[in-house]
Amino acid sequence: MKALGLIIVALVGAILVYATIDFPPFGDPESPASLHVSPRYLEKTLEETAVPNAVTSVLADYRSFDTMFETTVIFCAGVACFLLLRVPRRRPPAPRQFRHRLTGLTFRIKDGGEFVLPVREFEPVDSIWTPYDLIIETICRYLIPFIQIFGLYVIAHGHYSPGGGFQGGVILGASIILLSVSHNLRTALKRMGEKTSALFSPLGVLIYTGTGVLCLVLGYNFLDYQALAALLPGGPIMARSHGIFLVEVGVGMAVMGTMVWIFKNLASRGRYDEGL
C-alpha cells in the first residue's frame, strides 16, 4: 500500500507541478481570475445589494443557490449521523446509577428497582462518570452567554464585517458543545434537546428555501430577493439586503442545530448518555 501510495502521490504531484508552471504568478492583480467575473461583484455590490462585504453578497445573493445547497449539505450530514449512529430507544434500560450531588455517593439501581430518595439531590450518571473540574465548569458557565451573544452578532453583522450565517451558526453551536464538554451531555440536552436540534436544522434550511420560494410566489425567479420589496420597506436594493439577512438567519439556525446534533450523536455514540 505504501509503495502504491508513493507512486500515485508522485504521479499526481508531477502532474500538478506541471500545471503550476503555467499559472499566473501568485498575487498577480492582472490574472484572469481577478479580471473576468469578480470585478463586477466588487464594483456593484453596494449598488445592487447594499452590502459592503462582497463575500456576503456573493455568497447569499449572486451565488445564493450554491449556498442553499451548502446548507443542505450540512443538513444532510446531520441526518446522516443521526441515521447511522442513533440507537433506537427500545432497548431495555441498563442498571441506573444515581450520584448524590453533595457527597458523591453513587447508588446503583437494579433492573426493575425503583429510586425512592428525593431526586433533586441526585443526578443520573453512567459508569464512565468523572468529576467536573470546578474552574472549567465555572468559567464556561460565564463564558457561554457571551459566546452566544457574539454568535448572534456575527450573524447579524455579516453584511458589514467578516462573518455571517455560517460562522455565527458554528459559534452558537460551539457554545452548546462547550457546555456539553465542560459539564456533560445531559446538561447540554437540558438546554437544547435532541428534538430541538433535530428540528432546528431543517427549519433553518427551510427558512432559506422558503425565502426563495417566496420570491418565486411573488412572481420573480427563485431567490431573486427583489421580490421581497413588496413585503419589506426600502425598495428593491434594500430588499436584497434584507433577503440576504433572512437567508443568513436560516443558515445560522441550520448550522447551529446541525453542529450540535452531529456532536450529540458522535459524542454519545447515539445513546444520549453522558457523552464526552
Partner: protein, 81 residues
C-alpha cells in the same frame, strides 16, 4: 504581508499536517489536526480571506477537532501508524 511570518506559517502548516499523520496516537493526531487548521486559518487571514479564515477558525480548528475527539473518545486512541 510580512514574508518571514508567511514563510514561518507555511512551514508550520506542512509540519503540523505531516505530524498529524505521523503521530502514533489518535488523540494527538486530532490535536495536531486542530493546530494545522489553526495555522491554515492564520495563513488565510494573512492572505486577506477573512471570511474563510473566520470559518476555518470556527469550523476547522473548533468543531472538526471536537468531532475528532468525540470519535476517538468512543473508539480507541491506539494506532499502528
Amino acid at each position: 504581508m510580512i514574508w518571514q511570518l508567511d514563510l514561518l506559517i507555511l512551514t508550520l502548516v506542512v509540519l503540523c499536517g505531516i505530524g498529524a499523520l505521523m503521530i502514533r496516537d489518535l488523540l494527538g493526531a486530532a490535536i495536531l489536526f486542530g493546530a494545522y487548521s489553526f495555522m491554515m486559518c492564520l495563513l488565510w487571514a494573512i492572505m486577506g480571506a477573512v471570511d474563510v479564515a473566520f470559518t476555518e477558525a470556527s469550523v476547522g480548528a473548533g468543531v472538526s477537532t471536537v468531532f475528532f475527539i468525540a470519535a476517538v473518545y468512543h473508539t480507541t486512541r491506539r494506532t499502528k501508524d
